[in-house]
Amino acid sequence: MSKKILLDKINVPGIRTYEVYRKEGGYASVEKAIKAMTPDEVVEEVKKSGLRGRGGAGFPAGMKWSFIDKKSGKPRHLVCNADESEPGTFKDRYLMEFLPHLLIEGMITSSFALGANLSYIYIRGEYMWVFKILERAIAEAKAAGWLGKNILGSGYDLELHVHCGAGAYICGEETALIESLEGKRGNPRIKPPFPAVSGLWANPTVVNNVETIASVPWIVNNSGDDYAKIGIGRSTGTKLISASGHVKNPGVYEIELGLTVDEFMNSDEYLGGMYSDRPLKALIPGGSSVPILPADLIYKTANGEDRLMTYESLSDGGFATGSMLGSGGFIVYDDTACIVRNTWNFSRFYHHESCGQCTPCREGTGWLEKVLWRIENGQGREEDIDLLWSIQSKIEGNTICPLGDAASWPVAAAIRHFREEFEYHIRFPEKIKNRNHFVNEPFAKSKVLTS
């Protein structure tokens, strides 16, 4: 059994309620931080822990905290990013639905560290029932004296509220999230200034993912050094992985970083191998935005080393032969899946979710979707593959926010690793008429036709 930090109490009956959560040792980190530590000491522990942002980018959380502008004297805010919308990712919802008080405890401790007196949890509008769970949990915490004025007689005040979005993937980007929290369209802002200097209502703001904030109580209760002992190298601690697709046991798992991909995929403690026992074809390890890996690069890196569930190992080889840990959205494909159709599906998603602010993304994502659609529907042309490559290369890096990159990478990786499959679609349109064309006859059998 690997170490559990976040989900160790998830099976305790009634853990969603304040009474049970408190009885199980909940809110100890708030007591410890407020009574026995200074805000800077809390930041220092989080820095020592090596905790990295769990939303996808993997930026060290303690460092992000240390950038917050404390000199200007303006009010500061902590905003929890619970907008989780990356296809393949559903870990934050699981955590909030079953352990709402863990997030609230983390919000209080983290807000104390940052000197924030007004904090928000920004949750996506579709998670409306989770929004209600959090609202009730906040009311319980407030009634018990963990929120409000003069918490634990320390003179520290904190108000915490939940704010719901309304269906926009882009609001997971931190500056778009802030815009949305201000009651506007979710158009990302140009950085700098970074939110740490000018964020919510132009005040210094830190935006952190749910899982990042939920890791803080353990770090404060134990120590940053103890947290850093878990995991491998710069990938410290545990990570929630949400697994979906063609696996036997999809769901949310907490793993110690450093576990091999092979063990995660195949051991009965985790995914238990493939659903319906068909061969593994491809894997997306970190949500739809990260490059897809073909079967031969999943368990081993290009150098022949074991592929591990760490930030470093999954990105080993760069985009040529690697991918990214991202948000931990682990999507598994067996040989009945069509990579062209799947790539089209993602491009449709990014086209739909582009905010429309930057031309390369607004127009380019639509072009990607259209070209992929015609290839998938038997109307592709030989030059379309190079056209796709050209479009994605012109979106990447040319937009205000990373949605442009996120739209480009899956297309680039699909062409890089599965070019033959695109060629097959273009040359044999009659063979792909049925939407489930690889279900009866997996591509591996038809592959010879393209060579």
Binding site: G88, G125, M128, W129, H163, G165, R185, S244
Partner: protein, 184 residues
């Protein structure tokens, strides 16, 4: 009777009976109190959700204007937000809106076939309400339930691990008025 909203991509409908009940106003004022007094606009998204839930799940121009008035902002500030976010409906929709997630992981587990089945069973096309206004089927992007696919959103709740049999049962429950749409 409806007119076409100027500059909006989808037709925006008018003539909705607006009823800002005391309970609704109380909830709205509570939401407004979550933000600093000079930042009322920040409450816009949550307030729109509440207004929509209380008005047959759609927001007419009149209702949007009413929200602008409550928050003391310009009507255009509401329109631009309503047209940006997908969860705000600008036309009357089916009472039971089946919103199927149609992104990758759900498709791998058969969403597309299930949507076809549901449409056929209800005798509708995607995006068109049934004649009695009771049902509508729509495909939406990732709802964050990839491991419980195929799935759909119905009101405030998710229906997961769907099968044809489960769809049949949900339709029966909707007709019998046994489905709770909003958690109030």
């Amino acid at each position: 009777m409806w007119r076409v909203g100027v500059g909006l991509m989808e037709k925006t409908h008018y003539n909705q009976e607006i009823n800002m009940t005391p309970e609704l106003m109380e909830r709205i004022n509570e939401l407004i109190s979550h933000y600093p007094a000079d930042k009322r606009k920040s409450a816009l998204l949550p307030v729109l959700h509440e207004a929509q839930d209380a008005h047959d799940n759609w927001l007419s121009i009149e209702l949007q204007d009413k929200v602008a008035e409550i928050l003391n902002i310009l009507p255009i500030e509401v329109y631009e937000v309503v047209t940006f976010y997908t969860m705000y409906n600008r036309r009357p929709i089916g009472k039971y809106m089946f919103e199927f997630c149609q992104t990758s992981s759900c498709c791998l587990r058969g969403t597309e076939d299930l949507m076809d089945y549901t449409c056929e069973k209800l005798g509708v096309k995607i995006g068109e309400p049934t004649a009695d206004g009771l049902f509508e089927v729509r495909g939406v992007e990732c709802l964050g339930a990839c491991g419980y696919a195929p799935m759909m959103q119905l009101g405030d709740f998710y229906k997961e691990h769907l099968t044809r049999e489960k769809i049949d049962q949900i339709i029966i429950d909707c007709r019998d008025d046994k489905i709770i749409l909003h958690d109030k």
